[in-house]
Symmetry: C2
């Protein structure tokens, strides 16, 4: 089955303790699509300016991403500039130029409207709701958000959360949204009035899933060096949703496997700047790292 | 098989966002012994002042802890006062009174010298070395330490690490000891010139074990409320060493199980102040929580 993703395509300039990259391709929808493309078809809705090179679009298409919903409009593409220090869980934004993204009003092409899987990357929750108004009978909807929207549009975000099946959010943002220091209590509070499943991303500490009374803890892959954490969350979501769409199985057991595939994709992504590593993987490499997660977490029962 | 533990017995005064406790029993050897006592015999070496109530010693003895090595000397018992804010991984020390602990010079009773398992809790590494000079043919030695000794006695600590089988340390202290921001590189560097196995404690994020080329990641048990994190690390070590001593099996697979038992004991310990919860468990409760860790981490293979 295929996934509709709505989010950003951007140019990033990133500095980390391991080096820097200027004006490389980034954006939530780009990372998500590239990651998900190893598992399933992806239909991309986003906007770029007239400065965006055709070759990047061809690259996505080569990976099987349908770019019919990627609008090109006059003006400059969204640009983000950031720095990471040794605490790689924390991005320091140096500059944000929304450019054509500031008037982004996602229009879902007719041929995309029946996509069974929908991923709403981190954009204005009013726009996320607008996307949901255009799709028909989706089987499984997931969304992300950020502190900016939790503070600025809490009501729209709450309306959105009632409509999604899966909500993926950072640890600090989960606490902020629930107004609760205990992460387990924050999770229960978010689930009470919203999605059936909540996944809390903890960067180098992995992820926690809450689903009814069930909790699943996944570690992150222990890497010697994390070159660039940009896009880790969207690569995670791409592997996760890609696996669910591939199998069509959205049971709790399937979501657990999907979280590991998401963690696998995020671990590859942070090994290089931009899409360098994420865009050049083989299925064998992905499966081998999944097997490493199994060894990483294995212990015998009683 | 039995475990020899050398460490502190103390009175703690602790404040957390959930309440406070004054002059309650604490100390690394106390938490360790109580935790390990569910699994194996424990022989305790520590020192207390003449203000230490007999009833606390009787409590330890009722749990099967041999207190023949617990010296009572004139003066006051070691006292620690600390506060935890919402970041429960970080203790803020308000007051430390070493009292009789300042001249602690561990003497191992003759009947303790052949203990097959030895745990050197966090004390001066020169004293830890002195203990090792007194034991005969131990099968398995583990130790803990803290930033104070990493800064103050790095040479003694390095000599000690060459003699132990297992080193248990906090995440921040592992980075500090190795002078390396990458945790995986820090671990490899510590293992290169020291113990065969390294366990890095990450508080609410669980633990990582490094053993040769193998890595094991264990989550912490997701609790709604952590009432008091004091003694979590020593309860962890107690469950871990207790299980190893119980089975006599120190293989990599057995250490993985032992880490889960350690995590189980730490999770009970932080549910209440002092030894309140840790000292009143049943084997059924311990086994049930072990089974919960299995469900918490389970995902299907490829």
């Amino acid at each position: 089955m295929s996934i509709l993703v709505v989010g950003s395509v951007a140019f990033d300039s990133v500095e980390t303790p391991f080096g820097k990259a200027d004006d490389v391709i980034g954006g939530s929808a780009t990372y998500f699509s590239t990651s998900a493309s190893y598992f399933s078809g992806v239909k991309l809705v986003a906007v770029v300016g007239d400065d965006f090179p055709e070759e990047h679009i061809r690259e996505l298409e080569k990976k099987g991403v349908d770019t019919g919903g990627l609008k090109r409009v006059p003006g400059k593409t969204f640009r983000w500039k950031g720095r990471y220090d040794f605490d790689l869980n924390q991005a320091h934004t140096l500059d944000t130029q929304l450019n054509v993204f500031s008037t982004f009003d996602p229009e879902i092409p007719e041929s995309y409207k029946e996509s069974p899987f929908v991923f709403l990357a981190n954009i204005d929750p009013d726009l996320q709701l607008k996307v949901l108004g255009q799709v028909r009978n989706p089987k499984f909807i997931a969304c992300d958000t950020m502190n900016f929207w939790i503070e600025g549009k809490p009501e729209a975000l709450r309306r959105l959360l009632k409509k999604v099946d899966l909500f993926v959010i950072n640890e600090g943002e989960a606490r902020q949204l629930a107004g609760e220091a205990s992460l387990v209590k924050a999770a229960r509070s978010i689930l009470k009035d919203g999605p059936k499943t909540l996944i809390i991303k903890r960067g180098e500490y992995g992820a926690l899933m809450f689903n009814g009374g069930s909790i699943f803890a996944a570690p992150a892959y222990p890497l010697e060096d994390i070159y660039d954490p940009t896009g880790a969350g969207d690569s995670f979501a791409g592997g996760l949703m890609g696996y669910l769409a591939n199998t069509g199985d959205t049971s709790e057991a399937s979501i657990r496997k999907a979280i590991i595939f998401g963690s696998v994709m995020a671990s590859f992504n942070v090994e290089a700047f931009s899409l360098e590593r994420l865009s050049s993987l083989t299925l064998e490499q992905i499966r081998a790292r999944y097997a490493e997660f199994k060894r990483l977490t294995h212990f015998e029962g009683l």
